[in-house]
Subunit: 393 residues, 2 copies
């Protein structure tokens, strides 16, 4: 048996991907741009093993076996990597050998936290290591698993260039700035307590492309301008411009979702209360100190500089009080020193009226990080010597 | 003392007015189209009295005195009518006489139910009667009080033509179809229990014009097409087309509000749950049987044909259960016969899971109606023989 174990990061888009020009190849109608998050706090982990003795391809996701052959996107990624291995004449093992793939996230899959992006990036990166192939084409292979997975192939700030070719060969991710370019940048992910059913991203964006009258204007006019502007802002570490474009693009993406027929409302009342909180906070501070962005769900991702984290969190705990806020599990990730925070009156020129209790489930504090990494310690493998999962649900 | 008492209707737009090209004259960036609602269920009522003995202009709104001179929009309407009276040499009484104006709504002002539209239409219509002037220019005078008030000057289906002139003289309302054109058409207004602060329409639309990248595309491309299409649909009483355009335009208006910076979220979770309910209902029935539209607040206005009212209401009471639903005050307006409703399974192909309790405050059942009317019975006057309000708060 030969096996490889890798981890891959989550990425959070500041210019959103929404809408495909090709459903099959997963080609977007507009470019998008994200920051890759540190794998220290959130990552997908995958072990891929190949053996002459395996009878069939099998896969386990978070400790549960899932159909392998029935998943066309998975199959597409695997086929592409095998073709690459053949073309590159990589000969680590015969390509006929069956695979056992075991994958898990160290964060809740269901919370709508880009788990498929990390998952597919990890799968593709791990298989590339297993087959011993070059890594230059990996983003376009990951893209075919889940569009935004292509951005998780790189660390730091990453652009997914939409491309114009019909075969999708120019629809790839490129690193705009490395992970260490803006070391003060932090992310607070506010996971919102929510039980509503949501339209899947795949179906939501298909509906938007088919029915929104505004989506073309966004893709053709608004996004190209924003991509240029935000890349400049990132290059010169101009948080104000970065933050404002991030918020505007999040707003516009959700506007397009509402302009869809039937409309998709991914943000809920708690999400909108967070938006109001951030604008109020920035207004009090007289500057853009925090920026929100929302994916296709109610959770907020806040971008902010390190110096602002304790201030925001202490005020957040007042406006969104939580019974667990004293619990160490409530704020996960990079430790926060709540000792040296500014008085609330300097941070918020509104009366502090709690929006409601326990509207947030937990908070993750993280920062920019590197792309996928190969793990060398055999302890890290998710499968045992027989190629079976070490942990099952 | 000489006095006149009139009532004026509320109107609910199906193609929304959002955004001014001239703040002073209240000229819109796009045409809009509404249905005037029957004054039997909702109306503003105004008595305007003039007397040589009145010392100053005074005004009472819903039983409370409000500043008269301090309100520039009020003043603008009054000045325009006095100029008209002078030009037409109408001589019912000397124009120097001071006025007492007493106005009230028979529906809650605070509920965001177009009370200013009905109020200003009523004020202008009543003053026109008081001064004895021609009614041809009233919609453009009412427009300067509150934009959408111009549409309440006519009954039935009314278009507010945006116009192109800088002086606003071509920005007027015209009747598209009379009130009796589509007698089966009904409206259910679902007043949502809500306590959130909202951005005023005036500020919201100003922000949208200044910051939304999508609003121009809406005004220049989407709305003109929709106005043509919905007028045709109304002319041939094609509910399916009417309903679909109505829903799409409501969605797009709220999309523009979200694309605003900072964003305005007027709809809340209950509003979105109503949207889902209506789409599910229509899907089950295999046709567009009900259409929703939302103004700058969380309340839903449902357009539907008479035959559908009892079905929708009975199902609505299951999905949005209310402790008051047996109370005669919960559903106001035209009586509804809940005896002959279809079984829920024919109306809803989803499991009926209540969204939550008491999410609605009350429901108003109404239909299309006529424009403002003059009341002749002295009993209807809101002021006594001395020109003072009969009722004060």
């Amino acid at each position: 048996m030969i096996s490889e174990t890798c981890i891959a990061p989550v990425n959070i888009a500041v210019i959103k991907y929404w809408g495909k020009r090709d459903e099959e190849l997963i080609l977007p109608i507009n470019s998008s741009l994200s920051m890759t998050l540190s794998t220290d706090q959130m990552c997908a982990k995958t072990t891929a093993a190949a053996s002459a003795t395996f009878k069939e391809n099998r896969m386990w996701l978070n400790g549960e076996e899932v159909p392998f052959e029935g998943n066309p996107r998975m199959q597409k990624c695997l086929d592409a990597l095998k073709r690459l291995a053949e073309a590159e004449k990589s000969k680590r093992f015969p390509l006929e050998w069956k695979l056992h793939i075991c994958s898990e996230n160290n964060f809740p899959t269901a919370a709508g936290l880009a788990s498929s992006a990390a998952g597919y990036a990890c799968l593709v990166y791990t298989l590339a290591n297993l087959y011993g192939v070059e890594k230059s084409e990996l983003s376009s292979i990951a893209r075919q698993g889940s569009g935004s997975a292509c951005r998780s192939i790189y660390g730091g700030f990453v652009e997914w260039v939409a491309g114009i070719k019909n075969d999708g060969s120019d629809s790839i991710a490129i690193q705009v700035q490395p992970a260490l370019h803006w070391p003060e940048m932090r992310v607070l992910i506010l996971v919102v307590n929510d039980s509503r059913k949501k339209t899947s991203s795949t179906n939501g964006m298909l509906n938007s492309v088919n029915t929104s009258d505004l989506i073309k204007h966004r893709a053709n006019v608004c996004v190209p301008q924003r991509i240029l502007q935000i890349k400049e802002a990132i290059a010169r570490k101009d948080f104000k411009t970065f933050g404002e474009i991030t918020m505007r693009d999040s707003n516009q993406f959700h506007a397009i979702c509402l302009d869809t027929y039937p409309p998709c409302a991914y943000m809920n009342d708690t999400s909108h209360a967070i938006v109001n909180f951030i604008h109020q906070y920035n207004e009090t501070r007289g500057d853009v100190k925090v920026a929100y962005t929302f994916d296709a769900g109610p959770n907020a991702c806040l971008y902010l500089l390190e110096e602002e984290v304790a201030n925001v969190l202490s005020l957040l705990n007042k406006v969104f009080p939580n019974d667990n806020s004293e619990n160490s599990e409530y704020v996960k990730g990079i430790p926060i020193d709540l000792q040296k925070v500014r008085p609330a009156s300097e941070l918020y020129n509104q009366e502090i009226v709690p929006v409601g209790n326990n509207l947030l489930k937990y908070i993750i504090h993280t920062k920019a990080g590197e792309g996928p990494q190969k793990l060398l310690d055999p302890e890290d493998s998710l499968v045992d010597d027989a190629g079976m999962p070490k942990k099952l649900k």
